[in-house]
Amino acid sequence: MIWNSASDFFAMGGYGTYVWGAYVVTAACMAIEPILVALRHRRVRRELAAEEERR
Amino acid sequence: MSTTFAVLVGRDLRLAARRRIDAALPIAFFTVAISLFPLGVGPEPQTLRQIAPGVVWVAALLAAMLSVTQLYATDLADGSLEQMLLVPDARLAIAAAKAASHWLVTGLPLVVAAPVFGVMFDLSREAIAALVASLVLGTPVLSLLGGLGAALTLGLRSGAVLLILIIVPLCIPALIFGAGAVAAVDAGQSARGHYSLLGAVLIFTAVLAPLATAAALRIATE
């Protein structure tokens, strides 16, 4: 570990806003996208299952 | 196939002659769009001279894209496109003919009118010559790529805006080399590299775009 403390880590040598701005948005996108896709899949399965019931 | 080509071009030109106002719309748009820039950035001649190549080229690009939906739309609406496609192996000739007539009706007037706009932007004589030369090489590329876009978006509601979105990225090399040629001449340098590259883009597009457009016509109508 090259950081001496947690606050050093978050400060990123003064560039904290930029580095964390980049990482947070990336993490958010890569968390939201799988959720949206999974929800889409689940919705289709539910609709299909409902149709199968009716048949 | 060349007779089909000639017949179709002749037909489109005659149709354009009958609807002269519609045919003049692209160049009217071009004029208005170009005139907006001095109003927007100020009349300082030095600035205008610098932005002129880019402004003229972007306006040409937009004018071409806005007018290209008409290429197939009227023929699709009255059923003549279907008739044309019934002729065996006609797709390639149709694609090439549509691009050619679009250039004759929209691109060529732009080339002819370019010196006027060059003067409006205080370009030197050499720069105006370069502008005309770059447009001669570049506007056919715009017509060819526009034709591809029109065939891909045939009959779709979203029409012109969708076409602009999908085709404009492909026009960027022509824009860069074309406007760059004029800027180079304006700066006193040789534009030969630009012309060669623009010429290469033209050859590449002229050979491949009609093939792609023919495929797009098939996709859109089968």
Binding site: Y15, V19 | L152, P173, A216
Partner: protein
């Protein structure tokens, strides 16, 4: 005899009925690989790699910027490839996969631009520079947007697939030309713009972290694209017997999450 039967066995995977359960089994593995590689890569890149002499700690954005950029470009080509296969062989599953790739590719392109801007501000002084790489990345975003717009605008699925395939192929052919023209444009106007600092001299540990993150993004892409492809396949084939079986045969408790 063996050649025909093995080829036939391979063609099984072209059927949505086979793809659907197979993809479903693979998704958790890809997700796990993505998580492990990302954790390892981030540990190396954020906690172990030394601070750069010129750029300070701002350079650490590289560990997500470069993988995102690479993925954005790779996915475009892969998307065009599968779209072309779907068009040439009338293989609907291939077209489904191509459609599934597009949104993820566009997302990575956006992330490459976003992280690029945030890296640019502290290092070059402005949020945006019209350098060759960032400008090409922006044009790539337009290409993705064009593809997505075109396929959404066409209601009939097969026409949408084929038109999209043609556009993606045309786009792929043009990407080298566009990139070359942008590099040309950029070198000509070099005097006007600030030349962005090159990536820092890469210590081995930085390269390792970047590679791990790229592989992590790659695995992530597989997982998300497979789930999306499953959803699209179901949406399209909802009348097919395999779809009903896929939904009915697997009770809620086993395949609930993906």
């Amino acid at each position: 005899m063996t050649t025909t039967s093995s080829r036939l066995r391979l063609y099984r995977f072209a059927s949505p009925a086979t793809f659907y359960p197979l993809a479903g089994k693979l998704v958790p593995w890809f997700a796990a690989v993505a998580a492990i590689l990302a954790a390892w890569g981030l540990w190396l890149g954020m906690l172990r790699a030394p601070t750069d002499a010129t750029q300070g700690d701002a350079y650490r954005i590289i560990f997500i910027h470069v993988p995102a950029a690479w993925m954005s470009m790779l996915l475009y080509v892969v998307m065009a490839f599968w779209a072309a296969i779907g068009w040439a062989f009338n293989a609907r599953l291939a077209s489904v996969v191509a459609r599934a790739i597009a949104p993820t590719g566009a997302m990575f392109t956006f992330l490459a631009l976003w992280t690029g801007a945030l890296w640019g501000k502290p290092t070059w002084g402005t949020w945006w520079v019209w350098d060759a790489r960032l400008t090409s990345e922006l044009i790539l975003l337009f290409l993705y947007a064009g593809y997505l717009a075109l396929v959404s605008a066409i209601d009939e699925p097969r026409r949408a697939d084929r038109a999209g395939a043609l556009l993606a192929i045309v786009g792929s052919v043009n990407v080298p030309i566009i990139y070359f023209s942008v590099v040309w444009w950029n070198t000509l106007h070099q005097g006007a713009s600030v030349s962005p600092a090159a990536a820092p001299k890469m210590a081995a540990i930085m390269l390792q972290a970047m590679l791990l993150m790229t592989l992590a993004f790659w695995a992530y892409a597989f997982a998300v694209i497979f789930v999306r492809a499953r959803a699209i396949a179901l949406e399209r084939d909802n009348a097919a017997s395999w779809a009903g079986a896929a939904v009915g045969r697997t009770p809620a408790q086993t395949e609930a999450t993906t």
